[in-house]
């Protein structure tokens, strides 16, 4: 049970890698990359979880409570922004390439090889 979050982390990573390794469509590739990246979010959040912990906000509820780690949440937030922006750029590249060569297949005619 304790290993479950970490198993999911590894699963997401491997599935994402598999998606990229076998992709024949750039849009699919971007999604697969995002799946792989979500393993990073999950790892950070799992690492910062504390049993019975609540959101690290004191405000409305007085008294001492156990709170989960706010630092990893901030790191995850940063990483989500990074993932989203990279996806936007990748989609822009894929869209222009589709217009240029009429295909979304990254395997068809790499312009440079060797």
């Amino acid at each position: 049970m304790n290993a479950l979050p970490f198993l999911v982390v590894v699963w997401l990573l491997v599935v994402g890698l598999y998606g990229i390794a076998t992709c024949r469509n750039s849009i699919y590739l971007v999604s697969a990359l995002f799946v792989a990246q979500s393993s990073g979010y999950l790892l950070l959040l799992s690492v910062g979880y504390v049993n019975n912990g609540t959101a690290p906000i004191t405000g409305d509820i007085p008294g001492t409570r156990i709170m989960v780690d706010p630092v990893v949440q901030a790191l995850t937030l940063t990483d989500i922004v990074v993932g989203a922006t990279v996806s936007a750029l990748l989609l822009a590249l894929a869209l222009q390439r589709h217009k240029r060569s009429g295909t979304l297949d990254p395997k068809s005619e790499p312009p440079m090889r060797g």
Binding site: N2, A3, L4, P5, F6, L7, V9, V10, W11, L13, V14, L17, Y18, A21, T22, L43, S46, V47, G48, Y49, V50, N51, G53, A55, P56, I57, T58, G59, M67, V68, D69, P70, V71, Q73, A74, L77, T78, V81, V82, T85, V86, A88, L89, L91, A92, L93, L95, Q96, K99
Partner: protein, 253 residues
Amino acid sequence: MNDRLRNTLFALAAALLAGCLVAAFTSLPTFGRQSGAYRALVLESMEPMRHAQQAVAAVTFDYRGFDTLAEEFILFAAVAGGLLLLRRQEDEETREPTDQAPDRAGIVAAPAVLGLGVVMFPFTLLLGIYVVLHGHLTPGGGFQGGVLVATAFYYVYLSGEYGDLLKIKRDHLASHLEAAGAMSYAMIGALPLLSDYHYMRNLFPLGVSGELLSTGTLPLLNTAVGIEVASAFVLLIAAFLRQVLVIRREKKS
């Protein structure tokens, strides 16, 4: 590599990698029993030192505010890059958006869709602004609220009134707001330099815990980020829309 070799190689390597990672992860401290020094110090010091009640916002904009500066500029770079990549090329021209289906006369949004858009737009906008401004008190903040504000403008697109969205380009107000948001974050961080403090020091009055104007620079930074994020997403969606709807390659004669 042919497909079979690639798949075999990948299967072997991925199985090996997965095994190693599982071995490493499972020898971490037991799930749910972490007691990191960082967490304890932040939770303990944020209220007395910064009158802050929302630890994630305190970490994002105060303890590790410099990370967030770079993060904001990652978004800024992505917008500059996205607009660069999605520019109209020389052999392309812009045309009026036309309906791709031949059996329809023009683009008319159904009244229900239009109505929903009209209703949702102000509420989403308001919610977004609320989330930005209360980022240091409740879950949310500049990034989340900024995305909500941008979502409000997507309702405009969904309800079929995208003519205005298509006009949002580099010299549009949204673009200036975006740059202004990014610049103000960098400048707010630089203000302490004038009195010989370090960059990003939280110098503003801390106020009363839990009030809107408290925790010093946090609300200001949240607002700067909110403006940046909202206009960044509007700019990006407009650039993608232009590519799909109005930019067409000239027919080669």
